[in-house]
Subunit: 143 residues, 2 copies
DNA sequence: CTGTATCCCAGGTGATACTG
DNA sequence: CAGTATCACCTGGGATACAG
């Protein structure tokens, strides 16, 4: 986990903090980077988190999800659900009735993901204003 | 997600679905959804988190960052740094020397963001295997 | 060294129509 | 109701050249 690995010691060390090693230069950097990007490409798309979040309180049907998530298209909801199902974050239960009924629910893995995600949401809620202000200031200073 | 070169920062563009109620339309739902998407579009792009992470231990120069982050292009590093600076997550200090020297550092806001982000990274590290397994199983069952 | 501008392509996403 | 396929668009992002 974490960030404790290939950290170059501040300024001054100048060139090539890791230029001597013939193999695996810079240690496990790219490995962690890959994990970060991996989780982001999974959860960082436009809709996944919103779906995860909606399913956190209990199963929902396709149409219920579509109504709950403002702006999501039919196609993207299907696609998002497929990816989440594929990654074991959401389960799909189909009832062979007429008309068909399908319920989606968060798996344990999906619910465990919701925890750190909520941390991020909390940060976003708390610092949303700071970001907006900073952005306005930056744009204003750029005239 | 939105990192357009000179984007005029579109904020509340998610209207449409809830147009009837005169007060607090759609409840707090769409508001939270907007915040989630907002933070994700900021941090969920391909490079921002990696930059934030590299700057967590101390300031770095442009070239140091480029060498540290595997695969990032000149253009995207500039662009990512501008966006982070604009949002108050990174500070930029230019020393009028020859050749020019510019140092980037995480702001307090940037560092505070790193915390929940690390939670996500930790989750990713811990559950990476589960996801991969689930995916393999899903793909195998689909033959 | 740092930053900007241009060209260009792959991929994500919406609209729409069709099937079970 | 739920899912799939097709098309068309737009944006992210790499390569490259140029400027300060």
């Amino acid at each position: 986990m974490t960030i404790t690995d290939a950290a170059p010691a501040r300024l001054g060390d100048d060139v090539g903090a890791c230029s001597s090693a013939p193999v695996d230069p810079c240690g496990s950097e790219s490995s962690e980077a890959r994990i970060i990007r991996d989780v982001l490409s999974r959860v960082g798309d436009k809709w996944s988190l919103l779906v995860i979040r909606m399913l956190h309180n209990g199963p929902l049907r396709f149409t219920q999800l579509q109504r709950s998530i403002d702006g999501i298209s039919h196609r993207m909801l299907t696609q998002t659900l497929r990816n989440l199902e594929r990654d074991g974050l959401v389960s799909r239960t189909s009832y062979p009735e007429i008309p068909p009924r399908v319920e989606y629910a968060a798996t344990d893995l999906g619910r465990s993901l919701a925890l750190p995600v909520l941390g991020l949401v909390e940060w976003a809620s708390g610092n949303h204003a700071s970001i907006t202000d900073a952005r306005d200031a930056f744009d204003a200073a750029r005239d």
